[in-house]
């Protein structure tokens, strides 16, 4: 989110404090040190991770501090993974799988690249999934694993560092 606040001591701390109060986690603070000379205000961009449903609360708290919110850009899905599936993807009616993952609400498929050699040959596909959290990503991958097994597809996953 992009915030505008008074260029006076203690303002930035005052603006950050409500974030931890609502259980948010600050990922980055971009502090632009060129205050607007006319308004004596300062622009600050904050990247944060917020539990579901706390945003309204945070907005209210920030307003109480006299901080003006210029813009809130919500990137809901943070985690991204790509897997490769090999097999008769088209013949096995795969669209229901996409629906299954999307309908969970916590993860969605954002890209599908497919190559189909000849009609009866196995196709190869790269599927990219985005999810809100690591757990949600794992849940989405579990759906893909289960479906791959049912449909005799070979699923190739990325190697995550084990520990």
């Amino acid at each position: 989110m992009k915030l505008e606040m008074k260029d006076s001591p203690g303002q930035l701390v005052a603006a950050l404090k409500p974030i931890s109060e609502v259980g948010g986690n600050i990922i980055a603070v971009l502090h632009q040190r060129d205050p607007d000379p006319d308004n004596h205000t300062l622009n600050v961009q904050i990247v944060l991770d917020l539990p579901k449903g706390r945003l309204d609360n945070l907005v209210a708290l920030l307003k109480d501090q006299g901080v003006r919110i210029q813009r809130i850009g919500e990137e809901r899905l943070l985690y991204q993974r790509s897997v490769i599936l090999i097999g008769h993807l088209m013949h096995t009616g795969f669209s229901d799988t996409f629906d299954q993952i999307d309908s969970t609400g916590f993860a969605e498929m954002t890209e599908l690249v497919m190559s189909m050699p000849a009609v009866n040959e196995r196709s190869s596909s790269r599927i990219t999934i985005k999810a809100v959290s690591r757990d949600d990503m794992e849940a989405a991958l579990a759906i893909l694993r289960r479906v791959s097994q049912q449909k005799s597809l070979l699923m190739i996953e990325p190697l995550e560092d084990a520990a």
């Binding site: 090999i86 690249v113 190869s124 070979l154 190739i156 996953e157 190697l159």
Partner: protein, 329 residues
């Protein structure tokens, strides 16, 4: 220290040649056997002559003597067991190893079958008899995995491990990625280069890597896992398109063996890895990453097979035994 050598295939020949060449190691060969014959001399065998005889006639010694005779009767401190691996029964190697341990002789082997199938029993037996059973050469060829675990990382808790434990698969995947070859074409090339067996099943279906994973897991965690416990997928169903799709995102595919007891994970499977990942390299090399509590990540890379490379691991084990147990050199 006196050494008896059972098995004169590629590995056995490598060991014999290196013992002949490096005569300052204090290792004297007093017994030798191949599948058809055997030869003993308590004062030391003329290795060069025996190898020449083997080359000329196909047998290394006396046809009336066998490996069993050498193991039971020869004068030796350590037995080197390098007969061909049988992953199903482990024989005749298990019998050879037991017979030597019963005589309170140290044993060094490159044979995966006995260690994967009966490792626990054999280790217990060696302990009871007060001798050493070492098998550095069973996993990742020349790479000193066991020595690293035992000494370099002593005191560390090993949290997880993952690696490339089959050079044949790594070669095939390298060629598929580099040239856009099909699996069949790359396999044919591996055969021509002498990297793949006539029956490539053990390699390409991940069985070989899984056996090594079982040996590592049992050695590190003593958790009694077996080959059947490994969740295993090979590389024989991979397509050139799959490698291309990985390449498009700066990645490639490698056959990765991994174990993580806390996650109850024991798996061999093709995986997507960033091209800059330490486990991505070309050709027939092997590598292993160990995750530990103190040292964090340690990755070892090296030759995973080969006659002299495997002999390196075996001779390392022999010298360890010499220094630790046998003072006469």
């Amino acid at each position: 220290m006196k050494v008896a050598l059972i098995g004169l295939g590629s590995v056995g020949r490598g060991v014999a040649e290196m013992l002949a060449k490096k005569d300052d190691l204090g290792l004297v060969l007093t017994g030798i056997a191949d599948s058809k014959s055997a030869f003993m001399d308590p004062d030391g065998i003329d290795i060069t002559r025996v190898l020449a005889k083997k080359k000329k006639t196909g047998s290394c010694g006396d046809q009336h003597l066998s490996a069993a005779d050498v193991i039971k009767k020869a004068d030796y401190d350590a037995l080197v067991e390098v007969t061909p691996t049988n992953a199903l029964s482990g024989e005749p190697a298990i019998g050879h190893i037991k017979a030597a341990l019963n005589r309170k002789k140290h044993v060094v082997t490159s044979n995966k079958g006995p260690i994967a199938l009966a490792g626990k029993e054999l280790r217990a037996m060696a302990k009871k008899k007060g001798v050493s059973l070492r098998y550095e050469a069973t996993v990742a060829g020349a790479i000193p995995v066991m020595h690293t675990l035992e000494h370099g990382l002593a005191g560390n808790e090993i949290l997880a491990l993952y690696g490339v434990l089959n050079g044949t698969c790594n070669f095939i995947l390298t060629r598929m990625a580099a040239e856009g070859l099909t699996y069949e074409q790359a396999l044919m090339e591996a055969r021509e280069m002498g990297y793949a067996e006539a029956d490539p099943t053990y390699d390409v279906q991940g069985i070989d890597a899984a056996i090594k994973l079982v040996i590592l897991a049992n050695t590190i965690w003593d958790n009694g896992v077996k080959l059947a416990d490994v969740d295993r997928t090979g590389i024989d169903l991979l397509t050139p398109d799959a490698l291309r799709l990985a390449d498009e995102m700066g990645c490639t595919i490698r056959l990765i063996a991994e174990a993580n007891p806390k996650k109850r994970l024991l798996r061999v499977s093709p995986r997507i890895l960033d091209k800059n990942h330490p486990l991505v390299f070309e050709g027939t090399l092997n590598a292993l990453t160990l995750e530990t509590d103190m040292a964090k990540q340690i990755t070892l890379i090296g030759r995973g097979a080969g006659s002299v490379e495997t002999a390196s691991a075996i001779i390392g084990d022999l010298l360890y035994i010499r220094d630790r147990y046998v003072q006469r050199a």
